[in-house]
Symmetry: D2
Subunit: 343 residues, 4 copies
């Protein structure tokens, strides 16, 4: 961290700053002071994460406070050079093997879930998704089957031998997720910065892997800050990129693949990509799935429905009515991943 003061501040102001830094745990020997004609620069050595930049910006003569080191050091490749690998009970190693998560936006009925699960397994996907608790903008819309949905997921897992993922929206539902032994817990985009929920998950004993979806316009540093909250209590954190709202009416969101490339390059957590929410346009979901894998993603999360025209939510984002498109897509992403490893 560098604090930039106006040179005209004078020694008295500088002393005051140095004293204050001392109170915040940075005695003079942890400071680099450089006096120039225009600016005085004070560099801080050591872990500055607990320092509140704003408090220093508010000081007279302070022009700027510049953070240099990464406040989420534990998540960087410097700290943990190799990619983290998260093993599921099924043997799948997320971060190493390609994860293909598919399933309906919302679980609507046993029949729907079992049919979809069969199609998902047959297509070659290796994790089944399905929403039991649904955050909907208009609260009088369908909100999910809730506990019954979890029960159906558990049933599908037994029947098809495939791990399952579903979204947790409320810390008060943790016991249900434990009861039905959900394999991967998802924190949705709207709750990306819901610190209450993240902290409750981080405090669990024997936690399961958690997929954290990036919220709308959440920056890389906010996203990693949220991930670190989880990681402190549960290292099995998987990131998921799902796009930002856009000024262009063509899309629901625009997938930010810069994030996938950057998170993989600099940090060690596995990264998934959700081309369904990241576009909101069914026709380009397969292209963007491939693009995500090419950018370095460790897997996909796609919405599918055995009859999208009857889906109770997000039908336009589902892949296809008859799954004719899921099978070739899964084949393609595995092939692309295999080749990417060789490139």
């Amino acid at each position: 961290m560098i604090i930039q003061m106006e040179a005209k501040a004078g020694e008295k102001q500088l002393e005051r700053l140095v004293e204050r830094l001392g109170n915040d745990g940075f005695p003079p020997e942890m400071l680099d002071i450089s006096r120039g004609d225009t600016f005085i620069l004070v560099g801080l050595k050591g872990d500055t994460r607990a320092i509140d930049e704003g408090a220093y910006r508010a000081l007279d003569y302070v022009l700027d406070v510049i953070r240099i080191s990464d406040p989420c050091k534990e998540l960087t490749r410097d700290f943990h050079p190799r990619p983290s690998i998260i093993r599921l009970g099924s043997g799948l190693r997320i971060g190493k093997d390609l994860a293909v998560i598919a399933g309906p936006c919302a679980i609507e009925s046993r029949d729907q879930l079992m049919k979809t699960a069969k199609l998902v397994v047959d297509a070659g996907a290796n994790i089944l998704r399905g929403g039991a608790f649904k955050p909907r903008t208009i609260h009088r819309s369908f909100q999910g089957l809730r506990e019954d949905g979890l029960k159906l997921l558990a049933e599908a897992r037994e029947k098809f031998g495939i791990p399952v993922i579903t979204e947790i929206m409320d810390a008060r539902d943790i016991h249900l997720f434990v009861e039905y032994d959900i394999d991967i817990w998802q924190v949705g985009a709207r709750n990306c910065l819901n610190y209450t929920l993240l902290d409750a998950l981080a405090e669990m004993k024997n936690p399961k892997p958690v997929v954290l979806k990036r919220g709308d316009h959440v920056s890389i540093s906010e996203f990693l800050g949220a991930a670190l909250r989880l990681y402190d209590g549960n290292t099995k954190v998987i990131l998921c990129e799902r796009g930002d709202k856009t000024v262009d009416p063509v899309y629901r969101n625009v997938l930010n693949l810069n994030n996938v490339a950057w998170l993989k390059k600099r940090y060690h957590l596995p990264v998934l990509v959700d081309p369904s929410h990241g576009t909101g346009v069914r026709q380009i979901v397969p292209d963007m799935a491939l693009a995500g894998i090419a950018a370095g993603a460790d897997g996909l999360m796609v919405e599918v429905h055995h009859k999208p025209e009857e889906a109770l939510c997000d039908g336009a984002q589902s892949l296809s009515a008859d799954f004719k498109k899921l099978t070739p897509l899964v084949r393609q992403v595995f092939e692309l991943r295999r080749q990417a490893k060789m490139l």
Copy 2:
């Protein structure tokens, strides 16, 4: 709602659509069907809020589904022509009298809060704010005094006879807010779409007024959807505009005053404006406070600290060290409001 189909769809597809609409509660007599050369347009009469657009978009030959009526009808001026007025115990009528909420970002100590409260009251503000629970990006930063903060707020209220507002982040803290009889409960920007929290607040008996801050890049329709969740159980909902992240590094956020003007013009809930978070630049907070009032806002929420250079968070956004600027600002906003009423 209008469903737009390709004309080449043919009668069979149209029948299928009509049948499906019937199942969703829209029999043929509630439909307007218009056949053109290129498109068939099906208009739905009645309350279409429970209809899932996505499901219809996924049907073959359906090109688009266009919502026309406002899903948050109860919040519109059509439904409730006069502005809602929310009375506090102090007699202040939010939505009619100008509300000026001021205080520190975070409550740090009794001394700090009492000093600030005195300055706030002397300056002419009529509601005291202070954060007890703080959502911070990096979780190892200072997270607030929590219950002790609520206790101090209650003490300040007694001492200065001023209502208090503070942020609730977790439904599990509701009993504390009840215990200390917090006058106005704030839902922060990060929790704007935290439906779990909103629903818990909506279910309360004898609820207090709630200020709902717009989250980053949350659209008007999402914001109203969240407000309606609260409103269904508690009509004392106050909206607050606090800006969006921006591509321009000059600001922390950009205040969206279009929203203030539009929300006041079309909806009946009171609207506040937060120029501190809406800029992140101390020098322009007063200008943007005035601009917010000129755009139609019913009040302000500003951060102040008796010594901003010692604030533990958000110091750069606080108004001034010695409150020299708060008093003239309060005088100006009251004057502007008075004149605006006469203009």
Copy 3:
């Protein structure tokens, strides 16, 4: 400018950097070098505007290059403490007197322009606007009356004794603007970064005042960079804020009043605000006009049409059919400006 190197870079790399800085005009005596455990910071003293940051960022071991001083120093209040005032032939002093520019988006006919001009003058506005050359997204739409439009504007000026402003899109039209002696030349938002056009305008002898509209998502530093290109040859530059595209479908653009407050606080050029394009929603144009003035703007630019339902472009943004709303708005903005001066 501060160049931040990794401490592990070693003296050799540092020497190489210092040598390179010497070649770029920064000999060792213009550098402040501060060696820390983690970083080496090299501060540059003097005018660094010609330095290319990217070239230094590309050097091995360089982590960041941080610009501190304003590359548009001539436009700051440090350089020119009082607001610039631009006098028109009519005696109006832009930057001191409130400028109210009103008129149709496009000039359509003599009848339309003269009727509108009369209404504009009667309502109390002091500059007449009207588009002669129109940049339209779809090029087969109406593109403006071109030279005939300029002729009509000149005619309206003579008839009503009011200065006129219109947009120049092409350096090849400069002679026409000179011929019809257009009082204020506007560079539109799409051409904000069209350096060819800006440079051509800057090279003129005896130039007229130029209004430069901020382009979509153009940052403050890009905007000032464009303004400085003009200012180097013509100090009579007036800035105009007109909003950015938005993710919210309610608006065409969102007016960024942070920019108005910031530009007025830190820089000396006059700043106008365009609430018509900055919203795209007729109902809130008056509110946003007032908000703009409250934020510190020196004037307004609003679209009006004597019969908006017949306007050939941008009708939804025009103020009203019968100008009933323009007269009270002009009265209000003058009243607000008067009071703002006294506040």
Copy 4:
């Protein structure tokens, strides 16, 4: 196009609308009128591109005007089902063969360009880029070698037998581009909506292929509108995606690959991707190049410099000092393209 009126408008208002539509070339037989309880919907049959939506939105009782058909019909796959292929003199078929355009941001000297050109050719790229005219934010920065740059490009083309591309910023330079017989003319992002320049290029006899880069936050419809201006006079138009500014300080821009997938799916023009400007982060340029090809792009445009640490602009975005990374990247993109064709 559908015009939505309130049902309470009454027959008189509807007649007025119908009459007005008649004047605009839509007699009653080209209208579909559907009367509902809440709304009257008027559908227009035929080519509505010349209709000004705003004028209709401004009418009393009109709530909305909804465009349905694509105003850039000629660019769609409906109109031209197969991808357009643009042949260069070198035999390269853009839209069919993978185009790999590489070279320095700015041409700085003969030595630099010739060395870079050799490396580019050796690495397997098939088009050489280099900026002769440079749009720089701060106009006192290096602005390019101008005509001398074009001359050097022509020399490099002769020497290495590789077609060249460079940016045209001013219609007054057209004769120079003709004189040096530049193979592909680039319109840069800042000039994407500079209609003066686009129209001048469209009017040329025997035009060369033009690459049109998408400007910051330019929407798909604006981008296609600009492309159509060119296409009307010169069908050899190539689109290039290069990202938008972002709220995240990590990147200079975020590449929008949704656009690549969508433009390829729905329109027939070739689409390139520029991962250098689309990220501004050297480390992820190769990943995003691959992602762009996977999303369907017909080629790449990447910045390289034989010694990036000495580049006069955009060094941080250049690929590498010694080109060690260009050769494997070119190999990878060709391999990915080959496989994508087989997937």
